[in-house]
């Protein structure tokens, strides 16, 4: 009989009983609890994260909608400037209507007060040593403004038509050059002017 050996050992083993370690049940229970927790925690986490995103998005949207019709809250405004460069040179500047945050506004205000306010006003049609800068950002493009601010004399020498006209109009007095102002600082100053103009008009 070919299978006699297999049958024999199956029979020997059939009556075999041995108790496992008594600690086994505890370990099984622990592992089952971990798996159970995992099954609960995962969907729970996903729900929490989704809720969080929804709440935060809602909050941000509410802030924006809440702020938009109240321009008297001066520190959130409508400016974003983007530049197109060719090498180091700015070749085009565009401004869009978005929010200017408090920090940028204050930076611009500080720089304006220090460098520009001695000669210029941002109030409409109020002349002092130099012309009012109210609405200047809509009259001239940013590239021209930045260059003029950094070195107006150079532009007069190079016979820039607007620079020459201004020079005539303001009795041949020359605006001192602000060559140490960086692009970011110039941007902050003109963003501030644009924001102030917006407040005045609205």
């Amino acid at each position: 009989m070919g299978n006699s050996f297999e049958e024999e050992i199956q029979e020997v083993l059939s009556g075999f009983n041995r108790k496992p370690d008594s600690s086994n049940w505890l370990k099984i229970k622990q592992k089952l609890t971990i798996k159970k927790l995992g099954a609960i925690v995962n969907p729970f986490l996903i729900i929490m994260i989704t809720l969080f995103i929804v709440i935060v998005t809602g909050w941000i949207l509410q802030q924006k909608i809440g702020e938009a019709p109240h321009p008297e809250k001066r520190h959130i405004f409508i400016i974003s400037t983007s530049y197109a460069y060719e090498g180091d040179e700015i070749i085009a500047v565009t401004t869009d209507t978005v929010y200017l945050d408090d920090e940028l506004y204050q930076k611009g205000q500080k720089l304006f007060d220090r460098h520009c306010a001695p000669c210029h006003s941002v109030e409409l049609d109020k002349k002092s040593t130099g012309p009012s800068l109210s609405g200047i950002t809509t009259k001239r493009d940013r590239k021209w403004l930045y260059e003029f601010t950094q070195n107006s004399q150079k532009m007069i020498v190079e016979k820039d038509s607007i620079a020459l006209e201004l020079w005539n109009e303001w009795a041949f007095s020359v605006m001192p050059p602000f060559q140490n102002l960086s692009k970011e600082e110039l941007q902050a100053i003109y963003d501030y002017i644009q924001a102030e103009t917006y407040v005045e008009k609205n």
Binding site: F5, I9, V12, F16, N24, W25, I28, K29, L32
Partner: protein, 181 residues
Amino acid sequence: MNITDNERQLIKKCIRQNSKAQFLFYEKYKTPLFGLCLRYAKSEAEANDFLQEGFINIFQSLSQYKEEGPILNWLKRVVINRILSLLRKKQLKFDKNIDLKELQNAQVVVNNSSELAEELIELIQQLPSGYQTVFNLYAIEGYSHKEIAALLNISESTSRSQYFRARKAIKTAFQNHKSMK
């Protein structure tokens, strides 16, 4: 062999993850399943691990039990599948050149030597892991070589030759033991 209503109730509670029911279920089946684990393990500690992992799989898949045949057979199959997946991770060796001569003449030291079954299990545990698994699956569980080949990702002829050599070694050693009694 139909299962009783009591048993059916117990299974339902286990599926609902009632931990008292799970404990009763474990108590009921731990002994025969531990015997199975011992045959596949190299040590008692490993057998305990197999049993724990096996029961976790049992509780997780108990809802799939369709009452086709005795529940113990189904439980054994679940545990064996779990053991095989653990063994596959350990890289079973199916080396043809392992010498089984030593095993044939092995003096099995059994603490509780009255049990013939214990001696047999000790012998099986001494087989190299690949031989041990094939031997268990074919001789005791009754799987075919085709099934074993698929389960262990080996060829049918490997399964056959492994079994043939393991059988010879176990048979010789076992006969020696019996004759010594």
